[in-house]
Amino acid sequence: MSTTVSDTHSAHDAHDDHHDHKPTGIKRWLFTTNHKDIGSMYLWFSFLMFLVGGSMALMIRAELFQPGMQIIDPHFFNQMTTMHGVIMVFGAVMPAFVGLANWMIPMMIGAPDMALPRMNNWSFWILPFAFLIMLSSFFMPGGAPAFGWTFYAPLSTTYSTDSTALFVFSMHIMGMSSIMGAINVIVTIMNMRAPGMNYMKMPLFVWTWFITAFLLIAVMPVLAGVVTMVLTDKYFGTSFFDAAGGGDPVLFQHLFWFFGHPEVYIMILPSFGIVSAIIPAFARKPLFGYASMVYATASIAGLSFLVWAHHMFTTGMPTFASLFFMYMTMLIAVPTGVKVFNWVSTMWRGAMTFETPMLFSLAFVILFTIGGFSGIMLAITPVDYQYHDTYFVVAHFHYVLVTGAVFSIMAAAYYWLPKWSGVMYDDFLSKLHFWCSLISVNILFFPMHFVGLAGMPRRIPDYAIQFADINQIVSIGGFLFGFSQLIFLAVALKCAFKKGKPAPAKPWEGAEGLEWTVPSPAPYHTFDVPPKV
């Protein structure tokens, strides 16, 4: 994956500067078709949603601080768990990755912009409206959706309030946004690579996003179909999921998880790409096993379509089906293991330094692997009957999504902030952010394994008295983790207002890739003339 760029490049940058004019004020952001502007908007939007979804999580943890009902009533608690999940998945993690893709993919493959800039503008600007619709449902009679982010029928059909309609429409809009984003990424990668940038020279972040985009194209339409069926079941008298009318509620779970399992890989594959960029940079060694990383990513994506029913072992499946889904799920550990070993081998005997992006990446490798291990435990059908719908599951998916996806996004933000803003981030604050996050996130999620194994069910606002101690510890960790993220806000704002040391074009000694060949901050237009790779 070595990329060498001819020195003629700096000449182009001088040329770039003088047509750097753009509308000012709000119009610049409303009408922009620039991949960097759109990337920044995606990133800020996702951070805002991260804080909104995080506040909901804190509401949940505040209620769970003690057994019994203290602060919020059970129905509102259910609204909190539902909206926390929906917002974090569709509002925080996914848009953050799309933001990174917008910023980095054109710069990494030597393209002047995304292939479809106007559609890019659309795919961002419909998102805030989707979430406005979703969040406005709090003001409806009966409140926001309260059926869990998985919106299982009949909870979302027979037993839901009218906010379901808003939920469905905003899901449709989010789906459209994701599909447009995915189309844009695929077209950009297929048609806009600089001469010489063949597929097997692309940085892994580009590769993982390429595969993620295909996953999005494959499963977001299925999600759109499922939410449509929920809508028609609730309002138009169809019976897709209603046994009384000849439907089957279990069918909902099959359809949902047919979307849902690839969806969890949509939220982790770009992380693999980020970490595969950062670890070689700070270990000062090329990535170990580049080709195997590409094939491992592709096989994870392929397998993700064959494991969905491991979410539904307790619905009662023939033994053969249970075995099939169990073994398929365990098989995913093989390509994932290839990746983890490759990262470790990359670091082996490397000249490592521990700048903040590297710290987050190292935490990612270790903590994501813990999440992977608890995933293997959950894959074992007979023990899944014990773990199903307990806090063990909550611990598992927060290890892969928070210390996995979110940590990798943080790592990416620190890694590329100098390139985006032109200034170095505040090193002290960033280290403080890392250590506070690392410690608090483990106080928050690790003990959940134990209450889960002891049988504490998830999505319940009250619990048996013997779980009180651990829940208090978890809640304290939750508040610490939540407020630690404000340090990141401070770091990001300082960079946005250019408070910091000016960053050189390549602030990381061992970093590789085309994005480091352009000055920092990256000019408004880069690679108007394609670089030679």
């Binding site: 189309i183 494959a218 339409p221 299925v222 499922v226 046994a243 009384a244 279990v250 069918l251 023939p318």
Partner: protein
């Protein structure tokens, strides 16, 4: 410069080809989501995956050998859809049958409301695999049950098990959920197909 433009035109053409294919895939996957509904139904019918039994009468067991070496316990389970004040239960909670042997079990339903209603029972078998070997020659679940206000009815269900029932199944549950179809009335009369 002209070379640059022709490159751009080439790009445009390449873009629209890729976009068309991707949009087609999106449409295809949207349709596939809906196609999964009948596919799932068919799949369940063949494999007994969801424990749904066929709602049409089977042929009698004429010429079928009764396998007296095996005894299978069939448990009955009944529920009434949420919030409906009916009484619905089997006369016996479970029976033991030889595969091939015909048995009749009576179910009792009582409408405790002061309105005439139409009830419809939907069967489900657990483990689902057993549903493939459960043959009902007569069942109240084949049709809707009109019940006058306060009416109590005894509804028979006659069945036999296919002797091909795998040896590992010694016991299974046949569950009936009773739904209120008064509002839908005759409109859904053929839902059992």
């Amino acid at each position: 410069m002209s070379e640059h433009e022709s490159n751009e035109q080439k790009h445009e053409r390449g873009n629209s080809r890729v976009i068309t294919r991707l949009l087609a895939s999106v449409m295809l996957m949207f349709a596939f989501g809906f196609a999964l509904v009948p596919l799932y139904e068919k799949f369940c019918e063949i494999t007994g995956f969801n424990g749904r039994t066929t709602n049409t009468a089977s042929q009698t067991n004429e010429g079928m050998n009764v396998d007296e070496t095996r005894v299978v316990t069939v448990e009955f389970h009944t529920r009434v859809s949420r919030g409906i004040p009916w009484e619905f239960h089997p006369e016996v909670r479970s029976i033991r049958v030889h595969p091939g042997e015909v048995k009749t079990v009576n179910f009792i339903i009582e409408n405790r409301t002061d309105k005439a209603v139409i009830a419809q029972a939907l069967p489900s078998v657990s483990p689902g695999e057993a549903s493939l070997y459960l043959n009902k020659t007569e069942c109240f679940c084949f049709e809707q049950q009109p019940l006058a206000a306060g009416e109590r009815a005894v509804m028979p269900m006659q069945f036999y098990l296919d002797p091909d029932l795998p040896d590992r199944i010694h016991r299974f549950t046949l569950s009936y959920m009773m739904y209120d179809l008064t509002e839908q009335g005759q409109a859904t009369a053929n839902l059992s197909e």
